[in-house]
């Protein structure tokens, strides 16, 4: 069996509405975190967010006739990134509707972003709101399948903040096992009153810009976005642009606490080890790590501790959440796209806002942009509530 390669990417986040805008912001070190314009929440003015710089109306207009009425912001983000990815890979309508084309997506908030509409539909409405079919998990995947005429395998994963790392992993595994010929994989989450209040209740928001791996980090900034990757077998992609391959993947549960990670980093180590094992690589082969790096006390400590257990010398590591905020179920896919961009352009993006080393470690993230780097293998980490830890290795082809 040949390699599983990435032939198309699509991404929308606080630092750009497509892959090339995201790439340019990463190179320049321009964060997208700031005041939210579109989020309907009292915290919109109090906290900082990685909000996509488009209104629902603007996204709707740019999607043209592929959308139907009653689409939530989650669905609009998903459609935008999905469309870019399948166009980038040059997938024809026939290929999209092939039984052998799978769609594996991920979300946590889904249509729950439409807080007021749900509340009204559940309590007072006598006729359903236009969003009535959007609320439940899996709704955006179904909408994508319907709009783009997909007839193959579909899946929606929710393992909190590691969700779309799992959709990438499962898509690659399906192709490898011959369960499908190609897979469109990724995830989406939108800024929502529901999650803003949820994370606020857990007291893990920073009241200033997030500072991953800094001694004085105060927590995360919530973000939003979507990213999709088109995965194909290398032998089916001979005439296509190949961004890289999905070389390794690992999934392990921390089995410690519903919403924090074990000091021993059981799941973190399990996921990274699993990824190295399936990739057939040594820790020293990893050029750099796109860390989960949420900027919370608990995550950043556990992640560096975990890396120290795996690597004799910890390679450079970055948190691109300092650009996008934490995009939850979309983060694994967005960061996979960033890793692929860095492989394609042979460069390493900086981690922003870092000043002071963590007292527990003699270690700091990569804070400078590196052009002309030799990027062969990137490890990308995603960890979620419920102990869900997943790691991917993306490699140059």
């Amino acid at each position: 069996m040949g390699r599983i390669v990435v032939t198309g990417i699509g991404v929308i986040s606080a630092i750009g509405n497509n892959a090339s805008e995201n790439h340019s912001s990463l190179q320049k070190g321009n964060t997208g975190i700031g005041k939210a314009q579109f989020l309907n929440s009292k915290y919109a003015n109090e906290l900082l967010f990685g909000e996509v710089k488009l209104s629902n109306k603007e996204m709707l207009a740019s999607l043209g006739n592929s959308v139907v009425s009653g689409m939530s912001r989650t669905e609009l983000l998903a459609f935008t990134a999905f469309k870019e990815a399948v166009n980038d890979a040059g997938l024809s309508d026939t290929e999209l509707s092939d039984f052998d084309t799978a769609l594996l997506s991920a979300t946590t908030v889904g249509g729950m972003v439409e807080t007021e509409a749900i509340h009204a539909d559940a309590n007072t409405n006598t006729t359903p709101s236009p969003f009535v079919n959007s609320y439940r998990s899996g709704a955006h995947t179904l909408q994508l399948a319907k709009a783009f005429g997909l007839r193959g395998y579909t899946d929606t994963m929710n393992t909190a903040c590691s969700s779309s790392a799992n959709s990438i992993m499962l898509g690659a595994r399906m192709i490898k096992a011959g369960k499908c010929k190609r897979a469109i994989v990724g995830g989406v989450d939108s800024l929502a009153k529901y999650t803003v209040n949820g994370f606020n209740s857990l007291q893990i928001f920073s009241d200033e810009i997030t500072r991953p791996f800094d001694a004085n980090r105060k927590g995360l900034n919530l973000g939003e976005g979507a990213a999709y990757l088109v995965l194909e077998r290398e032998e089916d992609a001979v005439k296509k642009t190949i961004y890289g391959e999905i070389r390794g993947y690992g999934n392990s549960n921390d089995a410690y606490h519903p919403s924090s990670m074990s000091p021993e980093a059981v799941g973190v180590r399990g996921a990274m080890n699993g990824a190295l094992q399936t990739a057939g690589l040594k820790p020293s082969d990893i050029i750099y790590v796109n860390a989960h790096g949420t900027g919370t006390e608990n995550n950043d400590y556990t992640e560096v501790h975990g890396m120290q257990q795996i690597f004799d010398t910890v390679p450079p590591y970055i948190s691109t959440k300092s650009f996008t905020g934490h995009t939850l179920a979309a983060s694994g896919a967005i960061e996979a796209v960033y890793s692929l961009l860095s492989i394609k352009h042979q460069e390493i993006y900086p981690s922003l806002n870092w000043q002071t080393p963590m007292p527990e470690f003699n270690s700091k993230p990569q804070t400078e942009f590196v052009a002309n780097a030799k990027v062969e293998h990137v490890l990308s980490n995603s960890f979620g509530f419920g102990g869900n830890c997943s790691s991917l290795i993306l490699s140059k082809v």
């Binding site: 915290y43 559940a122 998990s137 007839r151 595994r173 096992a177 009153k193 209040n197 999934n251 419920g386």
Partner: protein, 354 residues
């Protein structure tokens, strides 16, 4: 893959009761509420904090996790702790985004049961949650099948859980997916009105790569969204063919008739087109409709191929054939269609010691 053991909490006496020896419980109304056990496998301090879906998933899965060593946990749930979710949502609105406690938020996440089970059974292996509306169980089967093919697991805990939350029930009713009038579950299929009746529960399985005195075999599965009638037949036909079977090898169909006059025609058409003579069983007049309905169907089919008697009210077309191979065909709200093929396993060959 092979079902080594299984549990089910449902609106029927399936967990500790005498479901196959007694008359099924008949419900009136549009909600079939799960009959919950005493949950002896869960410490009281933890039980009190659990929402219903966490409680049912844990209650059904823990006895299995205590009995078998499994290499990972794969859960399907569309709504997860939907009641908690709506409670949190209501607090956001009621207190105008004031200071809230995180319990409902954390419990409301669909990944909570799989994470909770990993925690309680100290299982740091593979862990995933599929939350894909009407195909979540088929997604779990794919995930498990791949782990077996990759030889990364020998034994897995796989299953689904869904709870009825009152808010979601009202939303689904408003959208026309749930019956507006009261109907008796033994007369579900003569109602001829739009909408299904809501169900809930947890169906959990220990599945293994090899047949070691298994109760049943899950031979294969497949799915399609928004198919044409022909697409559906092509899929079913291909599923049988790749397993060396013909329609005649299927002893009975288990169809997801929900009593919804708008979508039950899929089942009538399917049976007519491919299986005009085959016996037909139903299951939603026992368990109600849930996004994870095919998990309950698989539990039921596995019991039947292992020799349990067929409850009379589930025969929609009688057949005298011994039930060794059952094809489950279920769709959710007419959009997502899934197949699961369940078979009585061949007697397992004793393993020779090395």
């Amino acid at each position: 893959m092979f079902i080594k053991d299984l549990t089910c909490i449902s609106p029927q006496r399936t967990f500790e009761g005498d479901f196959f020896q007694s008359e099924p419980v008949i419900y009136t109304g549009s909600q079939l509420i799960a009959i919950e056990p005493a949950y002896e496998s869960i410490p009281n301090s933890q039980l009190r904090r659990m929402g219903k879906s966490n409680r049912m998933a844990t209650g059904a899965a823990m006895p299995l996790l205590q009995k078998y060593k499994t290499d990972g946990i794969i859960i399907g749930t569309t709504d997860g702790g939907m009641e908690d979710c709506h409670r949190f949502l209501n607090q956001i609105i009621q207190y105008q985004e004031g200071t809230l406690t995180p319990t409902n938020f954390v419990q409301g996440s669909p990944s909570s049961p799989a994470g909770g089970l990993a925690l309680m059974s100290a299982n740091s292996g593979y862990n995933n949650t599929h939350s894909n509306k009407g195909l979540s169980f088929e997604n779990c089967l794919m995930d498990a099948d791949l782990l077996f093919i990759e030889a990364r697991a020998k034994s897995l805990l796989v299953g689904c859980v869904e709870e009825i939350s009152q808010a979601q029930h009202r939303i689904e009713t408003l959208a026309g997916y749930i019956k507006k009038e009261d109907v008796s579950s033994d007369k579900l299929y003569s109602s001829k009105t739009p909408g299904a009746v809501n169900g809930e529960g947890a169906a959990m399985f220990v599945v293994e790569a090899k047949n070691d005195n298994a109760l049943a075999e899950i031979v294969d599965f497949d799915m399609i969204s928004y198919p044409s009638r022909e697409d559906l037949l092509t899929k079913a036909d291909a599923l049988l063919k790749r397993n060396g079977l013909t329609t005649d090898d299927v002893d009975a169909l288990m169809l997801g008739f929900s009593g919804d006059v708008n979508t039950d025609n899929w089942y009538h058409g399917f049976a007519k087109d491919l299986f005009p003579q085959t016996g037909i069983l139903s299951f939603k007049n026992l368990f109600g409709e849930t996004p994870s309905a095919s998990a309950f169907a698989t539990w039921f089919a596995a019991q039947l191929v292992s020799g349990k008697p067929v409850p009379e009210m589930t025969f929609q077309r009688w057949s005298s054939r011994e039930l060794k191979t059952i094809l489950i065909y279920n769709h959710y709200q007419g959009n997502q269609h899934g197949f699961v093929l369940v078979r009585k396993p061949a007697p397992s060959i004793p393993q020779r010691g090395k």
